[in-house]
């Protein structure tokens, strides 16, 4: 069971990294507009097709 002393801190470090990533994204405004980007994705694809 002493593996707990290793695994738990490791798991918490992973969580910490995830939280940092989320905060970074929120701060950069990634969640400000959740409607337009999904529409834009389709457009970029069709433009590439045209370039081919």
């Amino acid at each position: 069971m002493s593996v707990m002393y290793l695994i738990l801190p490791l798991a918490l470090i992973v969580v910490f990294i995830a939280v940092i990533a989320f905060v970074w994204a929120a701060r950069r405004g990634q969640f400000d507009d959740l409607d337009t980007p999904p529409m834009r994705v389709l457009h970029d694809d069709s433009e590439k097709k045209k370039a081919d």
């Binding site: 798991a11 969580v15 989320f22 905060v23 929120a26 507009d33 834009r40 457009h43 045209k50």
Partner: protein
């Protein structure tokens, strides 16, 4: 590509679709042999631009415009003016400029595609990005290569008329708040999840045994995870509680903060001493759940406020000024007293002033609520916001901007909105006695424990504090209101605050503006007595005029045979005359027609009074010197007005009319609506409306429903202000609720929906209190297992979430929406717009 299938794959048989917007091309505009057909020049131009620049793949997208392109044809010179640029344009690094414009008519992914590509065709435009939900375009450009007016014209040609967006600063602040709240939720959610995992291990150990060493280890790590959650994201509740204590206004945050702090402190002490329960899983989950509830509520209210605010950006932004250098357009912000504005027919006055040249009529309904035009002559005072109807005018500016009558009215509106006492939410009222009861119970538990089991007395008291944390109570209101506001928005009712929902549950006085609210707000041909043969003659005569009567005729008979009228003369305040098909036709006020036909000496026409009694404006028609027909024009009642008002009355509201229109007309309207004549007030100025609302507020709930600027101050002062479809921007920004569907039926839906929402809130609160009672009585006798507490708490929150979600508040079934669309012809406004 075959005939005009660009817009929609397969054209319906018999209908020729427009190659750009896909709507039917009117028979008169179909060009024989042309490869593509267009319903209007706007669509034709847009199509040409797209093809010229190789953007034809626009037509491959499934979604299409739902309206023809109608460019305003404006030049937008004012966008390049210093005064405009200093207000709305910000410099960027590298000499670039940036601004945000509100675009009319964006709604789908094709719009995103167009708006983000077409401006880039102009050299000098660096960036164009659209936020569809907020209908806002973010632009960056190089001022040495391109002007903002050129970009604006480009967008206008495509059918997205741009407007300066006035709320950038406020928006920036809200965006920061939103991001901060999102971070709090993210952090507290991650921590809560991990605390729960650790708690699971400990509960498992509680059943099957766990070595003391590991139990201690888990407890310490739980503590290390709970502290940042409580003092980081959870700090919000302590701030709320402190503010509540300081202002002596009870708030739900106070009992929440007490429970969180008590649970955490005791848990921390027990962790150090190594015995007794820790409450970390409860504390961590509470912080996360409560923050989420709050975030959802803010978001729902904001979406509704945003939608109304956008409509507010539609005010005129420019005026045409005449000076030594000739005529030029300047932004309204640059207008100064003494300048001379030239105002064409159909334009809105941008400032207060005196007419110095020209004759016309003004539509002052914005300020007075009176739909009938007022004559304008040299020396007449005109006001900002009113519309010049018939002829070009020169106006010397006397007051501009904030100093104008409109500006002063808006200022009063803001003041009364600030003075207004907020509605105390039910949950916060309950929080008051909740704190008292819980503290007394905790003390009783402690004293009772001291006598029987002193070792566990304190733990039992703390357990009671934690288990009675009003988590469900704190979620009860926000969740029910969020769901209610979201569903209301789907049916076209935009509710900007939860307060309105609570206030609408206390029936009181409901004041309705007349023009535009219970009536359609437009002059219409209501009655026609006499010769049918005269109709085409009148239609031909009125075709070229922009007078409200003429517009009403054009609407009444849009397709009456196309005769030509010659030598048309319009007399302001009189009527119109001309020669149609060789006959001399005179249409106008009875006295005017009598004078023209030489019938002046006859006895006064009795029909005039008969028309006036019904609130109709009489217009007589004479052909070759003989009166052949009598027409009555008026502002008809909305079809659903009577039924809606009756329904509101049965719900307990006293319905009254408060109008700026002539008292006689208001009385006639009241009679037809079954409203007590004592409750029908006419001739009320905006100031008097405000005074009446403020007086009535002393006696109870006042709901003010209106559409005009003349109602704005009263709307802001009322307990709940409601702006109706087609209203002026000021009334919308002042209103707590905006009805984006025409008619009074949405008003009834609002009141009924608010009642049902409140029912859900009450049920939620009952639920949560029942759970708290159960938990409290278990804790009181010291038989509350930590495990039972851990199950009880999320159970109460979940049942509140469930009941909020399935509560039938505002109806949104497909059938209901279809009925709405069919009856109004207007698609319900989706919240995403």
């Amino acid at each position: 590509m075959n005939l005009a299938t660009d817009a929609h794959g397969t054209p319906a048989p018999g209908i020729v679709p427009c190659a750009h917007c896909g709507l039917e091309v009117p028979a008169g505009l179909i060009e024989d042999g042309a490869e593509r057909q267009f319903c209007c020049t706007g669509c034709r131009t847009a199509y040409a631009i797209l093809h010229e620049h190789g953007l034809g793949q626009y037509y491959a997208f499934g979604e299409k415009r739902d309206a023809p392109v109608e460019p305003t044809g404006k030049k937008y010179e004012e966008f390049d003016h210093e005064a405009f640029q200093s207000l709305y344009v910000k410099p960027l690094k590298g000499g670039l400029l940036t601004t945000e414009l509100y675009l009319e008519g964006v709604h789908c992914s094709s719009c995103v595609w167009l708006v983000e590509r077409v401006p880039l065709l102009l050299s000098g435009v660096v960036r164009a990005e659209l936020d569809v939900r907020r209908a806002r375009a973010h632009l960056e450009w190089d001022p040495s290569a391109v002007t903002l007016s050129a970009i604006a014209q480009q967008l206008d040609v495509l059918g997205y008329p741009p407007h300066p967006y006035r709320g950038v600063a406020a928006e920036e602040m809200r965006r920061k708040e939103d991001r901060a709240m999102l971070m709090r939720i993210g952090i507290s959610g991650a921590l809560a999840g991990n605390i729960m995992l650790l708690a699971l291990a400990q509960y498992a150990g509680w059943f099957s045994g766990i070595e003391a060493e590991y139990e201690r280890y888990f407890r310490i790590i739980s503590l290390a995870l709970t502290a940042p959650s409580l003092f980081g994201p959870g700090w919000l509740f302590f701030q709320g509680a402190l503010a509540s204590v300081r202002t002596r206004r009870l708030h739900i945050d106070l009992p929440i903060a007490i429970a969180l702090l008590a649970g955490f402190t005791r848990g921390a002490i027990n962790t150090v001493t190594g015995s007794g329960p820790i409450y970390f899983d409860a504390v961590g989950t509470l912080v996360f759940l409560l923050l989420s509830g709050r975030f959802l509520q803010n978001r729902g209210q904001r979406a509704a406020a945003d939608a109304a605010e956008l409509l507010g950006s539609l005010a005129p932004t420019a005026a045409r000024v005449q000076d030594e250098q000739g005529e030029r357009r300047v932004p309204v912000e640059a207008l100064l007293p003494g300048m001379v504005m030239s105002v064409r027919a159909g334009e809105t006055f941008a400032a207060d002033g005196d007419v110095t040249e020209g004759k016309s009529a003004a539509d002052c309904s914005l300020l007075t609520g009176e739909p009938r035009p007022e004559p304008l002559d040299v020396g007449t005072r005109v006001y900002a916001g009113t519309v010049n109807l018939t002829g070009p005018l020169l106006v010397k500016v006397t007051q501009a901007g904030e100093m104008s009558r409109l500006g002063a009215l808006l200022r009063r509106m803001e003041e009364s909105a600030k003075r207004r006492a907020p509605v105390v939410q039910l949950a916060n009222r309950i929080a008051g006695w909740f704190v008292g009861v819980v503290l007394v119970l905790a003390a009783v538990t402690y004293l009772y424990g001291l006598r029987n089991d002193p070792a566990r007395a304190l733990d039992n008291a703390i357990a009671l504090l934690v288990v009675t944390c009003p988590c469900a109570l704190g979620l009860a209101t926000p969740l029910a209101i969020t769901v209610g506001i979201g569903r209301a928005a789907k049916t076209g009712i935009l509710i900007k605050g939860g307060d309105a929902i609570e206030a609408l549950n206390h029936p009181g006085l409901l004041l309705l503006d007349k023009t535009g609210t219970v009536t359609e707000g437009r002059v219409r041909l209501v009655r026609w007595e006499g010769s049918e043969a005269a109709k085409p003659l009148v239609a031909a005569l009125e075709r070229g005029s922009s007078h409200p009567i003429a517009v009403a005729v054009q609407q009444a008979w849009p397709v009456v045979a196309l005769l030509e009228a010659q030598d048309v003369i319009q007399t302001i305040g009189g009527g119109i005359e001309g020669t149609v098909a060789g006959q001399r036709v005179v249409v106008g006020a009875p006295t005017f027609v009598a004078r023209k036909t030489g019938a002046e000496e006859h006895a006064p026409d009795v029909r005039i009074d008969a028309f006036a009694e019904e609130g109709l404006t009489p217009v007589w028609v004479a052909v070759d010197g003989h009166i052949v027909a009598r027409a009555g024009f008026g502002d008809p009642l909305r079809a659903d007005a009577r039924a809606s008002i009756d329904r509101l009355r049965t719900l307990g509201w006293r319905v009254a009319l408060l109008s700026g229109d002539h008292p006689a007309v208001v009385r006639a309207t009241a009679e037809r609506l079954g409203i007590d004549l004592a409750d029908a007030v006419g001739g009320a100025s905006p100031e008097e409306k405000l005074r009446r609302v403020e007086e009535a507020r002393v006696r109870g709930t006042v709901v003010m429903v209106g559409d005009g600027v003349n109602d704005a101050a009263a709307i802001a002062a009322a307990t709940v202000g409601v702006g109706v479809h087609g209203g002026a921007e000021a009334s919308m920004s002042a209103a707590d609720v905006y009805l984006s569907r025409p008619g009074l039926a949405p008003l009834v839906e609002l009141v009924e929906g608010a009642r049902r929402t409140m029912l859900v809130i009450r049920n939620n609160i009952l639920f949560s209190i029942a759970y708290n009672l159960l938990g409290a009585s278990l804790a009181l006798f010291g038989i509350l297992d930590p495990l039972i507490a851990a199950v009880l708490m999320p159970m109460s929150s979940l049942s509140v979430v469930y009941s909020s979600w399935r509560g039938r508040t505002f109806e949104t079934t497909v059938a209901r929406r279809a009925a709405v669309a069919a009856s109004s012809g207007i698609p319900p406004l989706e919240p995403a717009r």
